[in-house]
């Protein structure tokens, strides 16, 4: 595990890349490497984080342009190989735009950019991203988004529920997301997308450590 390296993808407009690096390196002693979005060589990273921010200025739709970067094209084989990918906020939007996760993220119901701590129910620990301790648990993580309203059709929602792909649900839905959804995984469980920011909850001095478990689980095989 000493050489386990997490790649952090940097798009023009990413702004949480350094936060993720700080949380992984500084709080968890996990090695990281920045990956410029034009690179398609993922051979020396063992897991990948798509960080928050405003890739390509959120032009057209959040994540819509980022989807066409060489790195996202290369991500397909990476995901198929079973390696772990975590998309946070804008990273979640990129994962839905590029089809790695179902549904879409669109403007918050009240049109506000919401910057707050929210309580979340851990619904499923599929993929080992969350500690459900064998029973339902609640964690608190910060959110910071204007377009975090998760939307999907009823067939997709049924599939998400039936296959336990919903990881996190808001206790007090802040943005109008369908079924209070805050985070989902793919069927295999190796890809997680979530709107809350675990990397901003990794040290008591900045308000909590509920994000540590998810970041630490990047090193699961």
């Amino acid at each position: 595990m000493d050489n386990f390296t997490v790649g952090i993808v940097v798009f023009p407009g990413s702004n949480c890349d350094r936060d993720v690096s700080w949380a992984l390196e500084g709080c968890l002693d996990i090695k990281t490497k920045y990956l410029w979005h034009e690179s398609s060589d993922l051979s020396d990273v063992d897991a990948i984080v798509l960080p928050g921010g405003f890739s390509y200025g959120d032009y057209l739709r959040c994540g819509a342009i980022a989807r066409f970067s060489p790195l996202i094209n290369a991500l397909d084989d990476f995901v198929k190989s079973g390696k772990r990918v975590l998309g946070i906020c804008n990273g979640f939007q990129i994962l839905t735009e590029s089809g790695f996760l179902p549904g879409a993220l669109t403007a918050n119901k009240n049109l506000n950019f919401i910057c707050d701590d929210v309580e979340l129910d851990i619904v499923s620990s599929k993929g080992g991203w969350f500690n459900d301790g064998g029973e339902k648990q609640t964690i608190k993580l910060p959110i910071a988004h204007g377009e975090g309203r998760y939307h999907c059709d009823s067939d997709t929602l049924k599939k998400l529920v039936d296959n336990e792909l919903i990881s996190l649900r808001y206790k007090n839905n802040p943005n109008g997301s369908s079924f209070d959804i805050a985070g989902i995984t793919n069927e295999k469980g190796n890809v997680l997308g979530l709107m809350p920011h675990p990397e901003r909850a990794c040290d008591e001095t900045i308000g909590g450590t509920d994000g540590l478990f998810t970041l630490k689980s990047l090193i699961l095989e």
Partner: protein, 84 residues
């Protein structure tokens, strides 16, 4: 090669809430406009494009709409095409 002017309209699907449209509807009513039953905001994208005839250009525009201009999970699209 023929050149075409294409206007693509991208709209949120009817089942998807449009909060910007709702806010604008509310402002329209405050302005005094009466009778507004519904107001939804979409995007219009203008493209000038070359190709060998209309069919080839339509294929290109269909691809652009389906893969880039619209996210078909939440949006519908349609377009008009004019030969220049």
């Amino acid at each position: 090669m023929d050149q075409f002017a294409v206007k693509v309209f991208v709209r949120l699907r009817p089942s998807v809430l449009d909060p910007a449209g709702e806010a604008t509807k509310s402002a329209s009513i405050k302005l005094g406009a009466e009778g507004i039953k519904s107001l939804r905001i979409g995007k219009m994208i203008e493209v000038k494009i070359e190709g060998n005839g209309e069919n080839e250009v339509r294929e290109k525009i269909d691809l652009l709409c389906d893969r880039l201009f619209a996210n078909t999970v939440i949006e519908d699209y349609e377009y008009s095409l004019e030969k220049l």
